[in-house]
């Protein structure tokens, strides 16, 4: 599947994300191993799989927050620590923070320079460019109308858009989203997924989204990374989410059912927190 934009800063053919026989452990227990996959620049990819299989762990490895125990991982040709500035990150949000009396716009600003010491001076040079950039990114996510309101007063979908804006404000080439659709209603889920697809196409950002349920986003996706049984496969949804592929991955009898309106349901022995025990 060809992406709409081209990466001009890396040599032609550099993958947005490339894992070679990668493995990761936590506390001595292997989470996944032997993962080899390649995400092209400008793709919209979902990471799916049961709970506890290591989807968030994949994001943390990409961010450089968790080292690989073997294999390699490169983002636009660079190792995780050098690629940090190329990545925007939307962590998993546990609940809706209704008491945060911080202007939405100021929250977005933190994504730009929140890690610099000191306080921003009111008349410092560059202020106008910063304000312009924030306005731009708010337009992209469709949140310009409520940027002046406190975050705590926004709805779940609105808060999520502000958080996406924060992740995008430094013009990353890759956007990592960890379960952004959780605790949103179906309408909002579809809207956020459509937003992710638009960001992908118009801004040329590679979007990797960890999701629980593939159905709200199925129509927008380019490819799917399915993690199970201590490993992962990547491919187009119709290639990966099949009874055969998943049964092989889980090493159990899995069936994928398709409803009349195109929704997919994965049924079978789906042990939730399947942990793969490495014997080495």
């Amino acid at each position: 599947m060809q992406s709409a934009t081209h990466d001009q800063q890396a040599p032609v053919g550099t993958a947005a994300l490339q894992l070679e026989d990668a493995a990761v452990s936590r506390g001595g227990r292997s989470i996944w191993r032997g993962v080899t996959l390649r995400v092209e620049p400008g793709e919209y990819v979902a990471v799916l799989g049961p709970n506890g299989v290591g989807k968030s762990t994949l994001l943390q490895a990409i961010l450089g927050l968790l080292p690989l125990t073997s294999g390699s991982l490169e983002i636009f040709g660079r190792p995780p620590h050098q690629a940090a500035s190329l990545i925007g990150y939307l962590p998993q949000r546990r609940s809706f923070d209704s008491s945060l009396r911080l202007r939405a716009r100021d929250l977005v600003r933190l994504g730009l320079d929140g890690n610099r010491w000191g306080v921003p001076l009111p008349f410092a040079p560059g202020g106008r460019e910063i304000a312009k950039r924030i306005d731009e990114v708010l337009e992209v996510v469709g949140a310009a109308a409520y940027a002046e309101r406190p975050v705590g007063e926004l709805s779940g979908g609105e808060q999520q858009r502000i958080l996406i804006a924060r992740a995008l404000v430094r013009r990353p080439r890759m956007l990592l989203m960890d379960e952004p659709l959780e605790s949103l209603d179906l309408g909002n889920q579809q809207a956020i997924s459509a937003l992710a697809r638009d960001i992908c196409r118009t801004e040329g950002v590679t979007v990797i989204m960890v999701a629980h349920d593939v159905n709200p986003i199925l129509g927008d996706l380019d490819r799917v990374i399915y993690m199970a049984g201590g490993s992962a496969v990547i491919g187009r949804p119709e290639e990966v989410i099949t009874s055969e592929k998943l049964s092989a991955l889980y090493n159990a009898h899995i069936e994928v059912l398709r409803t009349s309106d195109g929704r997919l349901f994965v049924v079978g022995q789906q042990p939730e927190a399947i942990s793969y025990h490495a014997h080495d």
């Binding site: 209704s98 008491s99 945060l100 009396r101 705590g152």
Partner: protein, 275 residues
């Protein structure tokens, strides 16, 4: 030894102190069980702070201390119960509000104390407890309060337990959750006022929470847990009063340390029991 104890009980003020202390311990032991169960230990501490201006104000206006304590603590309990259940929980605003109100009430109590020129002794005894100034009238008033409160608790005890353990189920079963919660807060106010007379407004934890928390470690079923809680509270008060009489160590310090030792012991016993 027996002679010394006989001498102790020959004093009017010690009789009053033991009467008040015993009554307070029984009430605190039972109410405290619910406080720990409902996870309202911190609310208890804050309600107790209210007692300080109540007690100091009462003294300033020539009224018995217990009256000021009781009125203010129950009024606050009622207020919290009625106002407290907001639709959207703004936790930052809540904690900032509690800190604000707490500081102001303590300052108010300080104002009252400085107005009647009680200063260190007054502040000390109201905040940290005393057993010297308890009159026979206050001890009897305390007994009345305790009897009424315990009677009320006997009536609402079972539904209150249900609500405290599983609110949605209780509500579905038709239990008046809101009324019970408010009622409990009023009872809590009374228990705190009674306890604060002995331990002082700042140390009610020693009788209200520590014995019940210790009992919670050792026993699970409500009936026995309450009995253990009361027993531990009584042990705390009696030991504290006796040692304080013989050594002149302050009562507030003693009940807190004894309560702490009991609590830590209970936790150790539980951990060893599991191993």
């Amino acid at each position: 030894m027996i002679d010394a104890l006989n001498q102790l009980f020959s004093y009017q003020f010690m009789q009053n102190a033991f009467l008040a202390g015993t009554t307070a311990a029984v009430l605190a032991g039972i109410v405290g069980y619910f406080v720990v169960l409902r996870g309202e230990a911190f609310a208890g501490h804050t309600l107790a702070i209210v007692g300080f201006p109540g007690a100091a104000g009462a003294i300033l206006f020539g009224l018995p201390q217990l009256l000021g304590l009781a009125v203010l603590c129950t009024a606050s309990g009622l207020g919290i119960g009625v106002l407290g259940r907001g639709a959207v929980r703004d936790r930052r605003a809540e904690s900032a509000a509690i800190g604000t109100i707490q500081a102001f009430l303590l300052a108010l109590g300080f104002l009252f104390v400085s107005l009647y020129k009680g200063l260190l002794e007054g502040v000390n005894s109201i905040l940290f407890g005393t057993f010297l100034g308890i009159t026979r009238e206050q001890a009897l008033l305390l007994l009345v309060i305790a009897v009424v409160s315990l009677a009320a608790l006997m009536v609402i005890g079972r539904p209150l337990l249900y609500v405290s353990v599983d609110e949605p189920a209780a509500a579905a079963a038709g239990v008046p959750v809101r009324a019970l919660s408010i009622g409990f807060l009023v009872l809590l106010g009374l228990a705190i006022a009674s306890t604060a007379l002995i331990t002082g407004a700042l140390l009610v934890f020693a009788l209200l929470v520590m014995p019940a928390a210790a009992a919670n470690q050792l026993v699970v079923r409500p009936g026995p847990a309450m009995v253990v809680s009361v027993a531990l509270a009584l042990a705390t008060v009696w030991t504290g009063l006796t040692i304080s009489y013989f050594t002149d160590l302050p009562i507030g310090f003693l009940v807190t340390v004894i309560g702490f030792v009991i609590y830590v012991t209970a936790r150790l016993v539980r951990r060893l029991g599991r191993a």
